[in-house]
Amino acid sequence: MNTKLLQTVAALSLLAGVAVAGEDATLIINDEETMVTEAAAPAHAENLDRIYSGWVFRADETQVLQMDDFDNPAFVFTDQGQDLYDTVDGTAGESCANCHGDVDSFAGLTAQMPRVNSDGELETLTELVNNCRTERMGAEAWKYSASQMTAVTALIGLQSRGMPVDVAIDGAAAPYWERGKELYYTRVGQLDMSCSNCHEDNYDVMIRADHLSQGQTNGFPTYRLKNAKLNSRHGRFKGCMKNIRATPFKEGGDEFKALELYVASRGNGLSVETPSVRN
């Protein structure tokens, strides 16, 4: 942890006495599930010593919202996801539940996504859902970041909450991971900035009123106070690119899929926090 953060923590501790939340707080959900919000960086994130969940960088009042599922606004949407999961849709007369049973059968999946499928292609959870819809259910594909899609992927993600992110980067995944890494370090837009400029070189620093995080994705889809809905990973990438006045890549396109894999891999070891709360 860098010096500035340590100083801040020290100052906060002096002031607060007992920390409810804060940068040195522990994320315990519903008084029982302890999340790993800080860990040693995986070896392949060679420019980081420690990795931190975005939760660490949020203000106390935002942190607290994620500490109890009754307070977490994202649960309105995972409840909608559960309804969608149970509802028959499409020409085959099937629901998700008809084939997959209880949604807890998906425990562990989100921790490993995205991954390379048997055809050697990188596949995201969003694509898995849409493939099921179009190929098995005879239903229309949802738009990549549609509210139904983020609701269902957040519900599936919740089944892995507390498990360590563990995406594979070797073997068939290696070329996708390399592509994602290249994108992460490439400057784009009129402001000519890369992901690394903010989220690797300057995390834990204030950019105006925003406390820069490492850009970890372990809490996605995440509920943002800013827009009061669940936000997909690709939707967030798109927002970042627009901020630096760059033409975003396409949601669900090869670039964002590769970037999703690479960014997820930088968080290997953090707990899946889906659905998290951010600002």
Binding site: G189, Q190, L191, M193, N197, I207, R208, R245, A246
Partner: protein, 152 residues
Amino acid sequence: MKILIATAVVAAFFAGTATAQDTVVPTAVMFDEGAVGVSLTGVVGDAANGRKVFANRKQGNCLACHANADLSEQSFHGEVGPPLDGAADRWSEDELRGIVTNSKLMFEGTIMPAFYIDAGYTRPLEKFDGKSILSAQQVEDVVAYLMTLKEN
């Protein structure tokens, strides 16, 4: 003779509107070790306007990354770059012009955007394509403003 007269007329016309004629386009800015010794417009910078450009989130947006006590009425100053209090004590006008125009020539690999380039970046949003973040005069105004930031 006709051509000579035409040239004289054109020259006279531009002499009357010095600002347009004298503006240095982004690709023609001459740097010397990161500094730019010649005004981009030939028009003296307006520090009061520069202060506005500095603070405006759609123009300089300098407070996103730099703290500046002179703008304490604005909340939330960034910490990405160094505080600019006393900037004029540390840098010359030419150096500040170079840093605002394209700081990468002074600080290799810096995160700071170049405010007066209109090419060399990739995938810009269409509405910014081929444009610089600030106009030449806005750069001069910001430089004039930065020159007022003295502590000594």
